[in-house]
Structures are given as structure tokens and as C-alpha cells.
Symmetry: C2
């Protein structure tokens, strides 16, 4: 047992040092490795498989609303980046610059894309002619580079993977609708695939994307009470279109400018998943995206018939689930710990006695609950256990969010609460950037969003300045 | 009809100017668009869908031999690139350099990856400890940057998309076997999915990859007789492992260095597909990778019942194939040309009279052969027609390759043949780089490969120097 325990003791306890626990899990569960280049990580096979499962689900959802994938260049000429004023101010300070090609100095330096609005606009200016071509709904899966000062796996890297969707529409209304349709897809994916409760809302002016008219967000709460922005969808109006000469012959034989959106989810969402569901034994991966949904661990595997039966089960269950059989020389205890670390939702144990009794043991990752299951009932029991696990981890994350959310009205209450624990604080707000800034300085809180469905009742005052409120805001400390 | 013809006349005839025909097809079939940055193209939805179909098939093949996907950083520190001498000499002259992050000059410049052997080795040096971890079989789908002077869509770009596989093995034999196993997968994919005959062989010393011990290749012949290297697989021995300190505790408790492979197929293969099968009406896309396998064109679609029937067929056939129904306002003739340009393998035409007769018309893209098919037999006839088309385009490409391949023995014959037409010339060779160089200077031919299965009978002399031959070589002009 000492040997089995050792593996687990290699990670820091979650409530002792949450930040260290997080990086321990990223490395020990073999999601990532650090590279020799500061701020750049390596996505290992297990992390990449997780990301590919996320991609597969999201990609199908995008395609179901008419989105097509494209691929843009990874480099942007400086002059192209500079055409939209707000955008360049937002991004220029944090881009990486290519100045030489081979041994020659380039005439114009090129930045590695931090995001690709400028490239999409440049392309549209080239191909868009008539309203008949609209809408154009594009997406690309790629990596982008932002020269961040402090970096952490998944949460903030100098390079990160994401999807960036970019669309143009004939009317503002259609573009706005699509911005929100994507936000719904994001929220649905977070809640029903990642089992992660999120709050949908709109960002304040000071928190919106550089160049956008409006930014919408889904905000999740991590186990430690901090917020994690898990996906954003932006409405641009026709600002970029004017800056980049993207226009079309409209229905009235005039020239019009299309209305634009962009939206993105990145590998950050893997960080969110880890910090929502993980525990002291490591990851807990929701079944929908788990690289391994069920691991088979043979017990006394040297005994006659055990490996044969384990292999037979692997074959059979692989028809419905992503199954791994670990028939390595390691002890069952070592394997239990290994796949708990990797967050595999279900473990199937089978030994000589089980075979005699025509049964096996299924163990849920989240609560270690054991169930003895007749072998001929596995196809019924496994889906039920996976569903139970999904509901349980969602409920746990939801309970954490509720326990750590307070609705407060005065600055005294807000400061006291934010000093006592991390979480969401819901309050009214006058709408002034100064008061938002004061909230940061006095209480250490940033505005996460103005939550949907809660903006009707703003009868009260701003806790900072005492002026009449215009919005309800969720405040928090954010990753 | 004039209107219909116009569309087709927009592309240059294939036999008038093959190079112009090629770029016309790339643009008019909406595979790519040019970007504002020289040598960087935009993959449009149709091109990207084609590439995604290619990826899906290849990715499954790789996984079937135990390969796992990972993702490495896109940037490589100069010092890391320089550790393997031959490799840096091969790549340093053509890389793009990042020198600034934000407003700061970097302490060490970073190159945008031209290929990632160095990054994989750096990672392995970090994680490899024991022979029990071997083999490690990794792959990544990404883009790479090489600062080429002359660029053409798909064939040579400053950025291109590819997969790069990298593996390490306990023994040289296992690594060599795997190098060839991948070459077989490449050849099988080219021949049976892209319907493109290829020659498998080994590259000469002067044509092999920078840092490799041996490079294997599949070479295809384009319609114009030029060669296109369509995939390469390299065996590295333990050279990189020594340079990058990648080693492990072996079975005898000693320290050993793993044996390494790398292998890649890029979007070049789309260029190969275009130039193998395309004609004066545009693309011809093999069904296995076609974004649209069957397009439904309603005739007299304003008449009652036509669109309903067309929609019903779309629903029904989508269960088995990638189907598009074009119910736009454009004329049927315009649509015929449009989907011929895009190389859609089958066109289904249906109008009021067809509906009365319970039938429709299927038209094959490659030979325009029309078949009247009873609607209830579509599920039987479509697969047969797709198969016929596959065999026909393969046979046509094969016949072209055979007609343009000559086995010659003297320099006079070789020079005369290469002046008369482009194609493959098979001859003996002494093995000296000087004679290979002379073949380039005197006949304008480069060595494509030393073909497998033809190296036993080298009884004769080198056509250049007259010394005894050691190998048989396929020579050609290459893209």
C-alpha cells in the first residue's frame, strides 16, 4: 500500500495550495509538459486527445448552424494590424514580431497572429461582392501567440490553441442574433458536455474585446471560488468593415457594409474543467470528452482466464465507449491510482472470483462508489453510472458556485466578503468605469459580466458612488 | 448556353498552359485565395473541407498503428535548432525569425518551426527514462513556415499545412520497419483514396532529408509528366538522440539511445490530386476525400413537386454520402459548370418528367456519362458509379505514367527523351553524386528515387561516367 499511496502523495493537496495542485495535476496526469521556451507548453497525447474530443463536439455544433472551417495565414503584416485603431491598441503590445526571413531583413515586419479579425476582413474585402454571398460564417482551429509576462498551463500561455469564429452578415440584427446563438452553444457545451455551470452575460465597456461593440461571455467558477472566463462572443457592428473596406452591393443596388461577429473558446477550458471537478487524487474528466471513459484493470491477471476475459470485455465495450485495458506489469493498486489521476470516469475491476460469479466491479471516479455488476448487464449499467457521475459532478460544481455567491449592496459588505473568501459577488452598478476601477482597487474584484435575465430590477444605488444603478454586475477574482 | 460556357472559359485550357490552368483551378474551384502576404494562401471552405477529409482518413490509419497526436510549440530557440549539425545547415537559411515579443527585443531569437525534430527530441530528453516507455509514436497536424523564394498554391508556400510524425524506438530494426510501414500507409492512401499511382523508393544521399540516415518517398506523376514528391518517411538512426541527449535505461541496465523516424504528408498532396485528375472543366475529386460526393441539381425547379422531391432525395442520400442540393436561382447549366469546376464526382439531375417516370439522371464527373436510374435503385447504382469513376481516374493516371516512363541506358537517349517530353526516365547509376549532378546539368533531371523492387538487376553501367552501376534510379523534372 505504501507504494500505491506514493503516487497520490506526489501531488499537492488541493486545499493546501490550489495553484500548486493545479500545475501538479497538469503534469502528473500527463496533459502537458513544459518546453524549453518560457510560456510554451507541449500538449501530450492525453491532453491532446481531450482537446480533440472537445473539438469534435464543438465543431459539429458550429457546423449545425452553418459554420464552415477555413485556415488563415499565421502571420499578419504590421500595416494590416494597424487599420482598426482600437484593435491595434489592444493587441500590439503583446504580439511576437517576425523581422527576418532566412538571412534577409523583411521590408515590413509581420506579427504572429494574436487573433485573426484583420486577416478575415482582408480576405472578405477581396471576395465579398453581393448580399447574395451573405452571411459568411467561418471558423478556424489554430494556435495564436500573445507575449504574456506571467504564464500558467492552459490558463495563460504565450501560445495557446483555440477556435476563432468570424462571421459577416447583411444586417446588424442578424449579426447580433448570431453572436448570442454562439454564446448559447458555448454555454450548452460547458453545462452539458463539461458539466460546468456557467453564468451568461455581457462584459462591461472596459472588459470588452478590443474593437468590439459588445462582448458576451460565459463565466465559470472554479473550486477555489475564482472566476474563469470560458468563452466569449463579440459583436463588432460594421467598424472593422469600414476600416478594411469590406462592403457589398446590397438589395437596393447601393453599397453596404456587413455586420460582423467573432467568438472563441480556447484550451483554457481544459483549465476550467480541471479546476471545476478535480480532487486530491487528480483529474475528474466528464465522460463526453474523456479520452478514456472506462479503464479495465484485471486483478490477479496471471491467473488463468483473467486476461482473456478482460480482453473480451475490452472488445465488447469498445463498441460503445472509449475503453482502455491496462494489462501492464504494474500492480492493480498502482493502476487504480494512475487512472484516478487521469480522471477516467469508470474503472472496471475483474478477477478470478468475479469471473466465477459472472460479474465485475465498476468504480465511479468521483465518489469511488463500487457496484457489483453481472457481466451481461454492463451495457445497461455503464450508461447509468456515467450519467450519475455527470449529474453528481455538475451538482457539486453548482453547489460550490451557489455557496460562494453573495448578493450584496454596500461597499463595506463587499470588501468584508471578498476578504473572507473568493467567490462571486452580485451587486448593482451605476455604469461608470471609475466605480468599476474603484471596485478593483478597494475590493480586488473585477467585473465578470452583467448577467442575462437579471438586468430588469436595478432599483437601487451603486455601492461605490451611491448614484442610481443601471446594471447588475457579477464581480469576482479571475484567472 | 453562352452564359454557361463563359464560366468554363474562365480557366486556361490544360494543354495550353498547364501552370496557369493549375492556379486557375485552385482559385476558381474556391480551394484557396491569395492573402496580402507573399507566399501565404488562405484555405477557403472547400479546400479546407478537402484537407479535413484527407486528415480524417490518414489520422485513423496512423492511430491504427499506435500513433498518438500531440502538439508542440510553434517556435524554436536558435540554440535548440543548432544542436544537430546537418539539420541546421539544411533549414537555417529558410526560416522566419521572431526577434521581438511585444516591445522588447528577445534575448535569443526564435524561429517559426520549419519542421519539429528538434522540439520532439527536446521533449523526449525530458520525459524518456526507460525502455518500458518505448516506442513513443507521436504525430502532430500543424502548419510550418519556410521562407521560400518562389511560391505556388499547394506546391510551395511560405506556410503550409501538414502532419509530421515523430517516433523513437528501442532498436534500429524496429525504427527502420516503422519508417517503411508509414511509407506503405502513404502509398496506400495515395493509390486507394486519392486514386493516384505512386512509385515507392529511397532517395539518394543528396536528396535525403537534412540529418536523416535514409529518406523514403512516394513519387507521383502529374498530367504534364512532371514528378511530385507526395510523402516522405525518414530513418534517423540515433544521430538526433545523441545530439539532444535523448537516452534511456535499457534492458541490460545500461544507457542506450533510441532510434528515430519522422514522416510527413502536406497539403502538397492536394496539388498532386489536382494535377493528376483535373481537366479543362476544373477539378476531379476522388470520392473518398470529396467534400461533396454528389450534387443534386433540380431542373425546372419552380414547377410543382420538383424541389420537394429534390429535398427528399437529399435527406435520403445524405445517410450514405456527402450530398449537396443546389436550389439557388442560378440556371441548371450554371450549376452543372460550377460543380464540374469543383470536381464533384456525381451529379444528380431531376426534373418534372423524371419525377413522372420515377427516375433521375446521374452524370459522372470524369467522362460525363449519363445514366438514367430508377429512384428506388439509387442506393445500388451510386456506389457502383463512384467505384467506376475511381477506377477510371486511377487507370487514366496510370496510363499517363506508363506512357511517359522510359527505361534508357545512354546519355544521348536520356537527353533526347528529356528534351522531347517530360516524364520519368529509369536508368542505372554508379552511385556518385557527381554523376547525379551531371544528370541535372546535362538533361535537366533530378533523381526522384531508387525504386523498390528494381534494385536487384543493376548489371550495366552508369550512363554518365560508364562505371559499373550500383542502383537503378528514376529521374524526372519535379515540382
Amino acid at each position: 500500500m505504501a507504494k500505491d499511496k506514493k503516487f497520490v502523495s506526489e501531488i499537492t493537496a488541493r486545499d493546501v495550495d490550489f495553484a500548486q495542485w493545479f500545475t501538479d495535476v497538469c503534469v502528473k496526469a500527463e496533459l502537458i509538459d513544459y518546453s524549453s521556451i518560457k510560456g510554451f507548453t507541449i500538449m501530450r497525447p492525453y491532453g491532446q486527445a481531450l482537446w480533440e474530443n472537445i473539438q469534435k463536439i464543438m465543431d459539429a455544433r458550429f457546423k449545425s448552424v452553418g459554420v464552415e472551417n477555413v485556415a488563415m495565414p499565421m502571420l499578419i503584416p504590421e500595416s494590416l494590424l494597424q487599420k482598426e485603431k482600437d484593435h491595434v491598441v489592444g493587441f500590439a503590445p503583446e504580439v511576437a514580431w517576425v523581422t527576418h526571413g532566412g538571412s534577409e531583413k523583411l521590408e515590413e515586419r509581420l506579427c504572429v497572429r494574436p487573433t485573426s479579425e484583420t486577416l478575415f476582413c482582408d480576405h472578405w474585402a477581396h471576395i465579398l461582392q453581393t448580399y447574395r454571398q451573405l452571411p459568411m460564417k467561418y471558423n478556424q482551429w489554430c494556435s495564436v501567440v500573445r507575449w504574456e509576462k506571467t504564464t500558467r498551463p492552459f490558463l495563460r500561455g504565450r501560445e495557446f490553441f483555440w477556435q476563432e469564429g468570424h462571421t459577416i452578415h447583411e444586417t446588424a440584427e442578424e449579426a447580433k442574433d448570431f453572436t448570442l446563438k454562439i454564446l448559447d452553444i458555448y454555454a450548452d457545451f460547458a453545462e452539458n458536455s463539461l458539466m460546468m455551470p456557467v453564468i451568461k452575460g455581457r462584459k462591461t465597456e472596459s472588459e470588452k474585446f478590443a474593437g468590439a461593440e459588445a462582448t458576451y461571455t460565459i463565466e465559470a467558477m472554479m473550486h477555489d471560488g475564482k472566476a474563469l472566463q470560458s468563452g466569449t462572443s463579440h459583436y463588432f457592428g460594421d467598424g472593422f468593415a469600414h476600416a478594411y473596406d469590406v462592403n457589398f452591393a446590397d438589395r437596393n443596388n447601393g453599397i453596404s457594409f456587413p455586420h460582423q461577429t467573432s467568438w472563441g473558446v480556447s484550451t483554457r477550458i481544459i483549465g476550467a474543467l480541471i479546476m471545476s471537478h478535480g480532487d486530491d487524487s487528480g483529474l475528474v474528466v466528464p465522460p463526453a470528452v474523456a479520452p478514456i471513459q472506462l479503464v479495465i484493470v484485471p486483478v490477479a491477471q496471471h491467473k488463468e482466464g483473467v486476461l482473456e476475459k478482460a480482453n473480451e470485455l475490452k472488445e465488447r465495450l469498445s463498441a460503445n465507449w472509449r475503453v482502455k485495458l491496462d494489462d501492464s506489469d504494474n500492480s492493480p493498486g498502482w493502476k487504480f491510482n494512475q487512472y484516478e489521476m487521469k480522471g477516467v470516469p469508470l474503472r472496471l475491476e475483474i478477477g478470478p472470483k468475479d469471473i466465477e460469479n459472472g460479474q465485475c466491479v465498476l468504480v465511479r471516479r468521483d465518489n469511488r462508489e463500487k457496484t457489483f455488476v453481472p457481466l451481461d448487464q454492463l451495457e445497461t449499467v455503464i450508461p447509468q453510472l456515467l450519467k450519475d457521475l455527470e449529474q453528481a459532478i455538475y451538482a457539486k460544481a453548482k453547489a460550490n458556485m451557489e455557496a460562494r455567491t453573495e448578493q450584496l449592496s454596500t461597499m463595506e459588505e463587499i470588501i468584508a466578503s471578498s476578504q473572507a473568501k473568493d467567490g462571486f459577488i452580485s451587486s448593482l452598478w451605476c455604469g461608470d468605469a471609475e466605480c468599476e476601477e474603484a471596485m478593483k482597487e478597494q475590493a480586488g474584484l473585477s467585473s465578470r459580466c452583467m448577467p442575462f435575465g437579471q438586468q430588469d430590477d436595478v432599483d437601487g444605488v451603486c455601492p461605490v458612488c451611491g448614484k442610481p444603478a443601471k446594471h447588475r454586475v457579477i464581480w469576482g477574482k479571475a484567472y
